[in-house]
């Protein structure tokens, strides 16, 4: 069994899947760290759900102009990206211009966009192009069907994301820790905020290929939260979060390839969760085990 597993994983397909999902896990962990600091972890959930109508609309528009072109990837990705971005910006707009708080803004955008997505998927289902089965993969993930072209694309996008983060690391960190100070110092906070939003949307769109749109929030939230139990240093936290994300992606893919009934997306997330629990208990900083060990002993009178 181990021999089989090994050969499956090291085959061309296997390596593609491993590499692709590892890159996605890494990017999500890194970008998610900033969202965690910004206290906006759940934006990933909203972007993931908001992207759904984008996919449906992209499909419908393509089909209407050129029949059969609906499932072309660039079109769908563009649709998902635009819709996700609009969703994220709408959330910010509602938060800034009404009495409603951030949490309500998130829920409203999520529900409305997703409702539109579901309604539009009903249309897609009945379109002459056939069923929406192929499109549903974007909701549930389709790591198993990644090919070299896909992985090349991920690698490029992930590399771009990481370079951007590297270049703007100080600025983004400052934005997340103390927005007002950053603004007072003259940093262009609006632009940085928009950049961060763009990064989140980009990661979400990447993530939809591996874990699916619905679960992408997990890859954005769990690794950084786990990393918090190991360090307070922002640079180390980003590295650890990326490492956790990549590791659970790889392990998740490996485990799920051992059986037909092991859906890849959920397994990756469950690996994330396992690493989280491990960090929660044994992380060097604030890990519960260390806290328990360090508790003051009974006073000796």
């Amino acid at each position: 069994m181990t021999g089989e597993l090994f050969s499956t994983l090291t085959s061309y397909n296997g390596l593609m899947v491993l590499l692709g999902t590892a890159l996605l896990g890494l990017s999500a962990g890194v970008v998610g760290s900033f969202m965690l600091l910004r206290k906006r972890s759940l934006v990933g959930d909203v972007v993931g759900h908001a992207a759904v109508p984008g996919i449906a609309i992209a499909y419908i528009l393509s089909e209407m102009s050129v029949a059969g072109s609906g499932k072309s990837l660039p079109g769908l990705i563009t649709g998902a990206f635009v819709a996700g971005l609009v969703g994220a910006l709408t959330t910010l707009a509602i938060d800034r211009t009404t009495r409603l708080k951030a949490d309500a803004a998130l829920a409203i955008v999520l529900a409305t966009f997703y409702g539109a997505g579901v309604a539009l998927f009903g249309v897609v289902q009945k379109s002459p192009g056939g069923s929406a089965a192929g499109l549903k993969n974007y909701l549930n993930g389709m790591a198993a069907s990644l090919v070299w072209d896909d992985v090349k694309l991920f690698a490029i996008v992930a590399a771009c994301l990481l370079i951007v983060v590297l270049l703007t690391f100080k600025e983004l960190t400052l934005l997340c820790f103390d927005t007002d100070f950053a603004a007072a110092q003259g940093w262009p906070t609006v632009m940085l905020e928009s950049l961060l939003t763009l990064l989140v949307v980009a990661v979400t769109i990447l993530g939809m290929q591996s874990v699916g749109l619905i679960l992408v929030v997990a890859t954005l939230v769990i690794p950084p939260t786990a990393a918090r139990f190991w360090t307070d240093d922002m640079r180390r936290m980003v590295l650890i979060a990326g490492a956790i994300g990549a590791t659970s992606a790889v392990v998740g893919v490996a485990i799920s390839s051992t059986g037909q009934k092991l859906a890849t997306g959920p397994v990756i997330v469950l690996c994330d969760a396992a690493l989280f629990i491990g960090s929660l208990l044994f992380g060097r900083k604030n890990g519960l085990w260390w806290d328990w060990k360090a508790r003051p002993k009974e006073a000796v009178v």
Partner: protein, 450 residues
Amino acid sequence: MSYEVALIVTSMLAAMSCAVPGLWLVLRRHSMMGDALAHTSLLGVVAALLVVAGLEAAGLVDPTQTEKVADYAFLAGAVLVGVGTAYLTELLTHSARVEPGAALGVVFSSLFALGLFLVRFAADDVHIDVECVLFGVMESTVAWDTIGESGVPRAALINGIVLVANLALTGLCYKELKLSAFDPDFGRTQGLSSGLTHYGLMTAAAVTVVAAFKTVGSILVVGLLVVPAATAILLCYSLRSVIAITLLMAAVSAILARVLCRTLPSMTFSDWGVEDVSTAGMMGVSSGLLFLIAWLFSGRGGLVTDSIRRLSHTVDVAAEDLLGILYRLDERDQKPSKQAVADVVAQRYDLSRFVMKFAASRLRDRGLVVLDGNEWQLTTPGREAAASLVRKHRLWEVYLAKHFALPEDHLHEAAHRVEHFIGDPIEKKLVAELDDPWIDPHGRAIPESD
């Protein structure tokens, strides 16, 4: 009961039953908890079904009774997982000091993933139609799952009961809910257990979510929980009105959804023979539409109404400025031609031509100004209004010069801004304080009052 009516009634009851606990979630800043409950209910359902299947295999449950038992099991499973979600989130937030949003994200996405995992993993033992759970199957539930001969869908009855229960709970616990939403610290000093309120609300929400399952599916429940309440909050300012409007919005969104379902697809996608789309999805859209309308057009704070109000105010101020310009031109015996006015505006005032046009027509409509050939002429009431404005301007200049030792060229700017907001009472006080002056610091005469 016809199919269409049954559909509308069921969706209305589902929407209204969700809106009640949802309102309290929004007020207590726990909107995303509704999202979390909606996601994790999948796990509850799957786990419950697995348990039932296991019991059946072990012979503890009569196969003919399975469906009934399953329904109760769903409820129990979803409630347990829902309360568990809330509990684990609280645990992470307080004991492990994780940021609340992140804690919620970690808990619900893990549990949801577990649910999805089990669906595939246990597919042999338990057949779950994930589509059904996630998106609901209102159309077929309403058509087939009816009570006896009446044609009343069972889902309608269930949602109706939950609605009544939620309203009753709101009524009974009104004080507690209100305090926990608006002043939790005070509530605690009064002895109200915030924990009880919190978990009680979570339980009620979890039950409501499960009851609405078959109608709208678990993910779209989020819309029903949060959006009508958010719309009501934009429109009203008292809690009782908010509650009433929330229910109204929920009901209207259900009806609107059905209308959109029937009309939109045939308008846009008729080539594909699409006549009907998911009502549940449309409910998410319709409640969002209502929210959008409130966001843009609500009486206080609506984006569009606010912009219009601000523009109107800008035009009013510009109109008064225009009166002042005409008065001063007249004082200096200069011709108030259109060009002269435009020159003064360009030189000393920061007003766009668009606004000035509006201002001029507003003055004409009010009969304060007439256009005589190429010249603006103040009418008698116009002259009075202009004089009053200039009087206030110059009184304020005298006041500033007396109390603030400002150089002469600093006085005009300040007076120019303040003159629009000096009412009669303040004018009287200025006159008394300054001893009824008759010239301003620049040596110009202060117009007399009537």
